[in-house]
Assembly symmetry: C2
């Protein structure tokens, strides 16, 4: 009976991600993953070290996908266009995968070089966009932080239904983009 599922760490993470997307991050259990992959729960340990490790792998996968998305969105653009495209891609990724938020938002484990590297890679995108916008040095750092804070907060509030009122969310997003663009432009002129 045994030896036939043909699992790999990859496929385990695939299944985990599918469960997260369908049912939320809290629904990610080894038992559930085992069901979905047609295997008994202990068998999963042949491929991943346990639930915390599986969560870590999911996090890395999500970070990589997200990085790819925002990187692609800014490719070949510069200045304000890049900035707007980045913010929109950021928002779109989380609208497409609302349950992945917990994996994107957790602080990287300082003892995990792989995770740190991935997090750094992600942050390098807005940083590069702002450099292309004419900002350098400290101003670029502060502007990147403001940019991330604004987009991050917006998408988070949107994803959790934090915007209860009927006013159009697209319009708010435009306001937010204008806010960030003006700030960044203002900073550039100071330099």
């Amino acid at each position: 009976m045994p030896a036939k599922a043909g699992l790999t760490p990859q496929r385990v993470v695939d299944a985990a991600l599918a469960i997260v997307d369908e049912s939320g991050a809290e629904a990610l259990t080894l038992t559930r993953v085992a069901e979905r992959t047609g295997v008994a729960p202990p068998s999963l340990y042949k491929h991943v070290a346990g639930l915390p490790e599986l969560r870590r792998l999911v996090r890395l996968r999500v970070l990589a996908e997200f990085d790819e998305a925002i990187r692609t969105a800014t490719l070949g653009r510069a200045g304000e266009a890049a900035l707007r495209s980045l913010a929109t891609a950021y928002r779109n990724y989380l609208r497409a995968h609302p349950h992945r938020y917990p994996f994107l938002e957790v602080a990287p484990d300082p003892d995990d070089p792989e995770e740190l590297a991935m997090a750094e890679r992600v942050v390098s995108v807005p940083f590069a966009v702002l450099r292309g916008h004419g900002l350098t040095g400290s101003a670029a750092v502060h502007a990147t932080r403001c940019l991330r804070a604004a987009i991050y907060g917006f998408t988070r509030l949107e994803a959790t239904g934090g915007f209860g009122l009927p006013e159009d969310i697209e319009t708010t997003f435009e306001y937010l983009l204008d806010m960030v663009v003006h700030t960044v432009t203002g900073l550039r002129q100071q330099q």
Copy 2:
């Protein structure tokens, strides 16, 4: 041996909050609360309906405390001063209680009137501040959203160690405040 701990729902929530503050939201288990209150785990059910209900009560408590904090901070102030004071209080609350983030950030359960009312009460504070800043109607709604997004995102990134670089975080916070203030002021002039 029985009948002596003298628990109440209040005291159970007190213990829960203490555990959260000490060890994080994931550490909140009934077993842990029972230990801390000197009682066997099933006894807690005489006071709260179960773990989800306990989490809900903790959430309500945190929201009420937070509301109190930002309400006090804006009391007797108006315009830009109120706005800055609000943002600072927001940030300070989460710096003082970093583990409470998960309770503040979860979307209110749409079927829970008490939670909805509390959430609405909290949002009414920035809304009132912006009304006092001269904004009305849709503009006030959009500005409130931008304000919340920016502060929320900033505090979140700060709390999770999202700001890795050495640049001063206070300075970034000043930039962020300026960003919001300028936007709000600009919106007022458009009206």
